[in-house]
């Protein structure tokens, strides 16, 4: 009992510390970035082994941010029916991937492949130093589409 209370109190102190750090960091961001960052859309994972799920994992070596973006595609229509992401990085990277999932949901693969990072950067009013975050989101959707297409051409043979 005592131990569990102790653990709880440690956890809540850590949580407070993170919140304060995040609040300080948030002031530097545009309201649209903050909105996506505090309320990210479509966070989560899809079954990467599933034949109609494409997974894109990309990273930016300069800042060390990583994005995993997954799409679930309707095999007959080529429409993206579901999309999930997980991003570990700065607020702009999270907001960029969150907005990207909103954009591609219900879109055809061809249209999704054509999305340019500038579209995301414009929507989120990203400053020049954060443009690479939108590029990373563009790379992520392209990688997910490629992964899906590779799966379609070389279906896994079950023995």
């Amino acid at each position: 009992m005592i131990v569990s209370n102790l653990l709880k109190s440690t956890t809540s102190t850590a949580a407070t510390r993170i919140t304060i750090t995040q609040l300080t960091a948030r002031r530097l961001y545009h309201p649209k970035v903050i909105e996506h960052y505090t309320n990210p859309r479509n966070v989560g994972s899809l079954d990467k082994k599933s034949s109609n799920v494409g997974t894109g994992i990309v990273g930016a070596p300069a800042c060390g941010d990583v994005i995993k973006l997954q799409i679930q595609v309707n095999d007959s229509t080529g429409i993206i029916e579901d999309v999930k992401f997980k991003t570990f990085g700065c607020g702009s990277a999270i907001a960029s991937s969150s907005y990207m999932t909103e954009l591609v949901h219900g879109m055809s693969l061809d249209d999704a492949y054509k999305i340019k990072n500038t579209e995301i950067a414009k929507e989120l009013s990203l400053p020049p130093v954060k443009l690479h975050c939108s590029m990373l989101a563009e790379d992520a959707i392209k990688a997910a589409i490629k992964d899906y297409k590779t799966k379609r051409t070389n279906p896994t043979v079950l023995h």
């Binding site: 653990l7 440690t10 850590a14 510390r17 993170i18 750090t21 994972s45 994992i57 990309v58 990273g59 930016a60 070596p61 300069a62 800042c63 060390g64 941010d65 990583v66 995993k68 997980k86 570990f88 990085g89 443009l131 690479h132 590029m135």
Partner: protein, 185 residues
């Protein structure tokens, strides 16, 4: 040896001026001849930094205040770049190969299996039900992994194998970020 990455003109002592072309040249006791090296004696570097810092501290330099600020900040920057293995490695690569790994848009990437591992560990850490023991284990594994990379980097720079050094340095950036994430839990 590339000498193109200038760290600027920097006032040496109180009266003389001296040009340095790399941060290494600012610490001749730690790096004899100002020769770039990945190996560093941390306590010697710290000692030399403190001496420099006292010479260049804005309070200690009479006259032109702007110049004093500049000198003091360059000394600080140089020390912090050379102190940490990640930034020291990035700097070695920058001055020897002209590749700036701290800049976006480099068409270089680490292997997908590394990124996958980074994602998986971050997912574990983001799980609210994670135990303190598991966090400690993840931290230990990450520290070991970073030590192993630093050891490999030492060999790479010795053998002037810059292409492997570039890969390892990019990988080290991801694990350094993970290390910061663990610290903030």
């Amino acid at each position: 040896m590339f000498r193109s990455v200038a760290s600027g003109c920097f006032r040496w002592g109180h009266s003389s001026r001296r040009m340095v072309s790399t941060f290494y040249e600012m610490f001749p006791k730690s790096f004899p001849g100002g020769e770039p090296s990945f190996n560093v004696d941390q306590s010697q570097l710290r000692k030399e930094y403190r001496v420099l810092q006292s010479q260049f501290h804005p309070d200690m330099v009479a006259g032109n205040g702007d110049g004093a600020d500049m000198d003091s900040s360059v000394v600080n920057k140089a020390y912090h770049v050379l102190k940490e293995p990640l930034s020291r490695s990035q700097y070695m690569i920058k001055i020897n190969k002209g590749i700036d790994l701290t800049e976006d848009g480099q068409k270089l990437e680490v292997g997908p299996s590394i990124l996958m591992e980074v994602i998986e560990i971050n997912e574990r850490l983001a799980d609210d039900s994670i135990s303190n023991d598991e966090i400690a284990r993840i931290k230990q594994e990450n520290d070991d992994r970073m030590d192993a990379i630093v050891n490999k980097l030492r060999d790479c720079f010795e053998q002037e194998d810059y292409s492997t050094a570039v890969e390892l340095t990019m990988e080290l950036k991801y694990w350094t970020n993970l290390s910061n994430t663990i610290k903030n839990i």
